[in-house]
Amino acid sequence: MKFLRRFFIRFSNLATRQSADQRLQDEIAEHLAFQTEENMRLGMSPAEARRQAALKLGAAQAIRDHHHAEQSIPFIENLLFDLRYAVRMLLRSPGFSLIAIATMALGIGATTAIYSVIDATLLHPLPYPNPAQLVRIEDNLSGVGAQDVGISVPEWRDLESSGIFQSVSISGHGADVNLTGSAQPERLSYKNVSSNYLAVLGVDTQLGRIFDPHDATPGFNLEAVISDGLWRREFGGDPHILGKALLLDNDLYHVVGVLPSGFRDLGSTSEERNTEVWLAAGMAGLPFPPPMRGTRLQSRVVARLQPGLSIAAAQQRLDALVASLKKQYPAEYPAQAAWTMRLSPLSESVVGGVRQSLVLLFGAVGLVLLISCVNVANLLLARASGRGREIAVRQALGAQRTRLIRQLLTEILLLFLLGGVAGFAILFGAQRFLLRLVPESLPHLNNIAVGWGVLVFAIAVSVAAGIIFGLAPAWLMSSVDLMGTLRQEGRGSKGSPGRSRARQILVMSELALSLVLMVAAGLLLRSFWDLFKVSPGFNPDRVMAIQTWLPGPNDPAADIYRTATQESVLLREILRRSRTLPGVEEAAIGDVAALPLGHSRPSQLPLIREGVETIDNQAPRIYSPIVSPEYFHLLGMPLLQGRLFNDQDLEDTPQVVVINQAAARIYWPNQDPLGKRVRLHLDARQMLSSAKPAWTTIIGVIADARTESLADAAIPQLYRSVYQRSAKDLAIFLRGQLDPSTISVQVRQQVQSIDPQLPVFHAETLDDVLSTSLSVRRFSMEMVALFAATALLLAGLGIYGTISYVVNEQRREIAIRLALGAQRANILKMVLRQGLRLVAAGAGVGLVAALIVSHLMAGLLYGVSPTDLPVFAGVTFVLTTVALAASYIPALRAMRLDPITTLHSE
């Protein structure tokens, strides 16, 4: 307590600069006066009395010093003194300071930029209260290789009553719905959720209420919670919105709540993230399938763990539950299916896809920061020789070495801090521009902000880097040969061997680090290039896709597009009219799953093969787009076997499908797939109307195309005909000389002249879709390449500085050699050899490190081996060339040295 009190008084003295010195002087004067009077009373003469009084008091200055030390905090005072001195030193050599600050600004600015992305995505992925309690639960049937097969209603009830979770919610994947009744029909993303979903996330409304258990009556519920964005856009922020009607897919809902503006739903697809309407559903009762254990809802399960329960502990209890359920219902969970439930942190499902890229970027930017630091340390050491005299004088005057180190460190820290703040300032100013570089598919893009937290990070990094990379230079700078330096007077002093060795090590590590970065960039570049060049198996040239959405009301009877036959009238009319649009050569229709690479999470259906014993929930799952017969020709996917759909394949004729080569190879190995029959577990409504869907015959095999992922050559696909199977989420494909600015309006006019209730949206060229699908890779590649270029530049500067310095030190020696008749070419060779030695050592270390790093990032590579020889050789060559070029300039200077003037001036 007392200590604290004293500290605060001292601190306030320091801050207010209020000095008690005057008071002390007054007191001492009074003291002397009292003593003098006393002495005079004892009979001394006035002069002697004063003298004796002063003698008795002792040295007044010492008292003042002592008093001053008691009064303030010497550490901080020294710091202020050091800071003032450091500022003076920085101002004295503005060129050096500017270069050092700019280098640090580059390193710290880049690191901070990546950090701000990581902060928003990896560190704070879930903007909900107590995010650590939120988990995802996946049902897996690992015995049949089926992942995330969805949950059945009885299993959901088991989880709710297990005691492991506070609450377990089910939500559909994001899906689309038509909002009609507004000026222009709008397509929205909505989610069917169990009534506790919003409560599990921990979100509350700004208006109205979230769902309560009453909203969980069997079947669909008519309560809707809407987003702040929709509320403002469509309802003008109407404060009386509660209870108002919302016409979604021709069904009437009413609004019970409006969520706060900051709320975003979780999810890995853009549909899920942009959800604007939440509808409560009972998940049981019509039109959902009856709640049987084997009947799994196509849903994701999000739960909140009991407080204090770790994921591992919860998983253990869950495993026990699964084991006992298996024992209880052996018929539902056959041993060969190997049913398990897996818990994972919810944050993982949001950021899982981009983590590796971001970690790579952070690593790359960390290397750039390291190189920047090394460069500045190098500059500091170079300057040390110039400041040797100053330091020697200060030492001669009695400055202790620790004091000197502290002062030098203050100077270095100031440099680093200024660099960090400058880097942050640039980032802050340029954030609007920089954010445009970030791919849109990154989760939580909108949360990326350059704010206080990022500033704190920048400052912390600057200080840490300053201390780490400032200590060694400060140590080396403070150790001067006192006598030698002072005796040399004004002559250029020779640096200490410790310092030049340190500089060489620094440059070598710089070269090594840049080599690592360049190899990483080279490998990524090659992967990207390979992906970019890969033949996708379909022809995206001059193709546009424009989406529309057919409403699917809850009551099937109210659906005017319920059957494929009903829908086909509309589709044929759309196709007919589309072909009349200017520039259109071909037109086709497919569902969103048929849109190549345009959907991040297409649903897969269980594939049941005739003659292969499977029950529904153990079947392999397959992508199954629905397309019109023209689709394959429009996208240039060649038929290999059998036939394509034709106009005689209708809803009332036998069901037929076309598969791709991969499906044939995987599911009918060494057999002729033509004529084989399959069954797809179709959507819920279908199941209710017919107990068992009829068998479907394979009529054709088309060539593999990379329509799901450019990186994956062969994903099994099973195409169905849109005239046999209705689809709600439609894409209209057009090929021809199209004008992107007008085509979507033209298509909308045509579609809405057939049915004014249909929204038409999201026109994009397939080339754009392709390029968007590569955006995260492109982003990592571009960033790493940028960092690598920066690293190369910095390493070049580093080696240039070091060789210049070496040349400068050897000026005398070179001049003597020249005077004694050495060939100038030999001098050139001598200097270049020094540079080459550094490069060789740096490149050697760098190659080893690069091998390790390239193996760590193997997961990000495509089509290129982590030990790709051309990349390693090319990078080494470039680095060597740059380094040699950087040493060539000082070497040239050394060669042109005039021995007479040099020796004269020495």
Partner: protein
């Protein structure tokens, strides 16, 4: 002339507090003078340490000070004991007496007294 011993380390604060306790309010010179008198001029108060000590005690809250006029109408800074200072004095007095008693017992003890 024989050098007077300096005040034992750490006891000066106790003496200052006790002096203020006895004399009430007093200025710096008065405190120094008083300590020397009480010690029978055996101790010399190092004036150099007195003023920093007074400041320290003031920072700790044991004493308070203000300007005032002395008996012969001089302006001087007067120090007085605060409540906290009085408590500190009592505590330190107890500690000191205990220490002195222990030391005294050590001086008294003879070999045959030990069991």
């Amino acid at each position: 002339m024989k050098e007077k011993p300096d005040v034992l380390q750490g006891t000066l604060a106790l003496m200052v507090l006790k002096t203020l306790d006895v004399l009430g309010t007093q200025h710096g010179w008065g405190i120094a003078r008083r300590i020397e008198q009480i010690s029978g001029d055996l101790l010399a108060v190092n004036q150099g340490t007195l003023y920093p000590l007074l400041l320290k005690l003031e920072h700790e809250g044991s004493i308070a000070s203000e300007w005032g006029a002395s008996e012969n109408n001089r302006r001087a800074r007067f120090y007085r004991l605060t409540g906290a200072g009085r408590k500190q004095l009592q505590a330190e007095t107890r500690d000191w007496e205990q220490t002195a008693a222990i030391i005294a017992r050590f001086f008294k003890v003879k070999a045959e007294d030990l069991p």
